[in-house]
């Protein structure tokens, strides 16, 4: 009996994920309402719970997709994967007035460049403080701090070792996790409450998953603005890191 239930859950994995996430969100909103009196947003709790489960899934299976590596929860990988995530992000743009996007457009572009530079420099500085001196490692770790996609792209093109590339991916993963968790906490202090600052935020942070989740936990109305600039960030980082930024690092060190 139980076995056939498990088989069914594994077979209908996407549907099982819908039910599971629905249940988890119900509990999270209940906790938000009763225990924190709405002070911590229900979706923020749900995201943190999700990250916690992903950690245990990761250690349990040794896989790379968090809880989705446990076959019972495989549907989470499809539901939270790039395809449906992008579809849902795009859907949030419906009803946005272009005027608001255009008004913040220039600040968004400045934020994009500044965001790549700031994250890269932060990564290089910390790597330097930990004793790395060769330009290839410094650049790769800096690129990973931009996003976990840029790290391996830059590392592969300038010939970094696989340990350094793994480290750069870890830095990028941490960045997206930190953005998810810290955004709702910081939002009030940095004026993140209107479309314009959301576009700047997306450009500065850049990690699409971090921005997507961070804004969802802050104010879902801001999601389209942040996501729009954030989606250009990885491309820009992949353009700058192995070229201009690498040459700059090589010139300095």
């Amino acid at each position: 009996m139980i076995e056939s239930l498990v088989t069914q859950l594994e077979k209908q994995h996407l549907i099982a994920a819908f039910a599971l996430v629905g249940g988890a969100m119900y509990l999270s909103y209940l906790i938000s309402d009763k225990l924190t009196k709405g002070r911590i947003h229900g979706s923020a709790i749900a995201i943190i719970v999700g990250l916690g489960l992903a950690y245990f899934g990761g250690i349990h299976t040794g896989g790379t997709r968090g809880l989705a590596d446990i076959s019972l929860f495989a549907g989470l990988g499809l539901m939270g994967g790039g395809m449906l995530r992008d579809l849902a992000i795009i859907a949030t743009a419906y009803g946005v007035r272009f005027q608001e996007v255009r008004e913040a457009g220039l600040s968004g572009i400045i934020a994009l460049f500044l965001g790549v530079f700031v994250s890269f420099i932060a990564g290089v500085a910390v790597a330097y403080a930990f004793g790395y001196r060769d330009p290839v490692s410094l650049t790769t770790i800096g690129a990973g701090t931009v996003t976990y996609i840029v790290g391996p792209i830059a590392g592969a093109s300038i010939g970094a070792s696989s340990e350094i590339i793994a480290l750069s991916i870890a830095a990028g993963l941490f960045k997206s996790i930190l953005v998810m968790i810290l955004t709702p906490v910081a939002a009030r202090h940095i004026g993140l409450d209107n479309p314009r600052s959301a576009m700047i935020f997306g450009g500065l942070m850049g990690t699409t998953s971090g921005v997507a989740a961070g804004l969802a936990a802050t104010d879902p109305k801001l999601v389209p603005y942040g996501a729009m600039t954030a989606t250009f960030y990885t491309g820009l980082g992949a353009l700058l890191a192995p070229s201009v930024l690498y040459f700059a690092v090589r010139a300095i060190f």
């Binding site: 969100m25 743009a93 932060a122 793994a166 870890a170 830095a171 930190l178 997507a212």
Partner: protein
């Protein structure tokens, strides 16, 4: 019909991601450049155009609104399938590098926010020198407030 809305959304996504890939190739970058953003802009324009033409009945809109509403649950599923364990494997360097980057980026937001709109900062600080602009800027805070209200 609901499927029209979903198809419009899907069409925007496919064209946008394809355009992002082409843009990446043109720039010589091994990644998609802004595909999702391009798709979002397409949906804003196409959706707005169809709405003006009264070609967006409620049932068509529902096809888009459903996926809009699924956004947060999808993000929760995404969080649950992140490679959190690998992040912890990176240890202190990875944590510190990303923490410094995130905190520095947060700190830049108010600065950039102010930089982008000189009109509003005029009203708070240095208005006396140029009087004619004061009249102009006097109306801008209410605009800003209206915008903020719309956003909420």
């Amino acid at each position: 019909m609901v499927i029209y809305g979903v198809a419009l959304l899907a069409g925007c996504m496919l064209v946008g991601l394809w355009a992002g890939d082409v843009l990446g190739m043109l720039l010589g970058v091994n990644s998609n450049v802004g595909g999702v953003g391009i798709a979002m802009l397409m949906l804003i324009f196409l959706g707005g155009y169809l709405m003006d033409k009264k070609k967006m009945p409620a049932s068509t809109e529902d096809g888009i609104k459903f996926w809009n509403g699924m956004y947060i649950p999808i993000v929760v599923a995404m969080a649950a399938s992140q490679n959190v364990a690998a992040a912890f494997d990176g240890g202190l360097i990875a944590l510190l590098a990303s923490l410094v980057a995130v905190v520095a980026s947060f700190a830049l937001i108010p600065f950039l926010n102010k930089l982008g709109r000189p009109k509003d900062s005029d009203t708070q600080e240095s208005t006396p020198p140029h009087k004619p602009r004061k009249v102009l800027s006097a109306s801008s805070p209410s605009h800003a407030r209206a915008r903020a209200r719309h956003a909420r």
